[in-house]
Subunit: 234 residues, 2 copies
């Protein structure tokens, strides 16, 4: 009997899922989990994910770089925003980062009852898929969405992950079939599809359009970050 | 400026939508809204949708046929279940029906703050699309789902409706783009796609597989049922 994949399209539906004994995959393509992968590609030591902005700000005193956004904008006094390209230009080797974002850190915190949580982006999708296959346990893909609403970019990555795992897993719910079918239709026109997404429109309003191409770059790294409490390591 | 379409994939996300001044389209393909259309094709006078099973049973005393299911099964002592083919074989001319179902009547009741609600199925999808175009107001498509979870069949009809309306409306949210793309991929293989849906597996367990073909039959009628309170008329 193959293990199963289920997909949660927004943290507001997370109560419908039993996470016990499963691998939980956290997805926030634009841009929290993409930033986290960028940080690990730049050899950061670890990150701490915090839902509360002021708690994040306090971490500065403990030697952390502080990072985050609210409504897509960088926070006054913070070292880093939520642009992965900014992370790629910063010297992060052996540093530690405290990060707070609108959606991604909320998804991380609301799935804290799970024993095994890993961080996915397009940058490491192949590595995530293969990690899940090697574990052989059932998987729940959690899309962060945008303020509780479903978004295209996280759905597309969930579909891409289900495609990588499709031979080794059963699709346990209709949502996984839905994102898989959606990915199959759009796998060769990511950027065009992303340009229609509501989040992209928000990003381009904020003059951060350059991030988009980076956020849908596929398989740049084999890093699989995992969570211990709210700490993210490789 | 064109009116907009938004899509709600489960009643559990309905709080995210502002329904005021909009046309609300209720979708429950398997099988509540399909049964309702079958009843109107058989010239029923009106239906009353009730979330509570015992309240529905009481309506028998008021001269109503009583109809409904729980977990896909007909209720003991009820005149009709939730099989549209059963409705098509019943003499319903000028009768009145009180109906309660697992998901469809819940979606109807939880959208009661809206002024204009109409009932959609594949049987009347073209009529629903054209009605919305003729009204020229923004539209919210509400999928009933299955016990709060997203399902394929309602998502597919939402996508079909957004396709019919695509020239005259803007897609206001990512979910509408998502269901539209999903419909475009699967428009010529409804039945194959439906056979993968979790709900179909439930139906075939209950030996009611014959309903499926009927539930995805397209454009058999031009009837557009609408709700007044919990009463459904044409």
């Amino acid at each position: 009997m193959k293990p199963g994949i289920e997909t949660c399209l927004t943290p507001e539906l997370l109560h419908q899922f039993d996470l016990e004994g499963k691998v939980v995959v956290i997805i926030d393509v634009l841009r929290a989990t993409t930033c986290m992968l960028a940080a690990f590609m730049k050899e950061v030591d670890h990150l701490v994910a915090l839902a509360d902005l002021e708690e994040c700000r306090e971490m500065k005193k403990c030697g952390y770089l502080i990072a985050g956004e609210r409504n897509g904008e960088k926070i006054e006094g913070f070292d880093l925003g939520n642009s992965p390209l900014e992370y790629m230009e910063y010297d992060l080797k052996d540093k530690k980062i405290a990060i707070t974002t609108t959606n991604g850190t909320q998804a991380i915190n609301s799935s804290s009852m799970s024993e095994e949580r890993i961080i996915a982006s397009f940058l490491n999708k192949w590595a995530i898929g293969n990690y899940c296959i090697s574990k052989g346990k059932s998987v729940v893909l959690i899309c962060s969405g945008w303020k509780g609403r479903i978004n295209l970019e996280d759905s597309l990555l969930a579909g891409a992950l289900s495609e990588i795992m499709s031979s080794d897993f059963n699709f346990e719910d209709d949502t996984t079939r839905f994102v898989h079918s959606y990915y199959q239709k759009n796998r060769f026109n990511f950027l065009e599809e992303m340009n229609n997404a509501s989040h992209t429109k928000r990003l381009s309003r904020l003059n951060q359009g350059g991030d988009l191409e980076f956020c849908v770059s596929e398989d740049l790294t084999e890093i699989v970050p995992f969570l211990e409490g709210n700490r993210i390591r490789v």
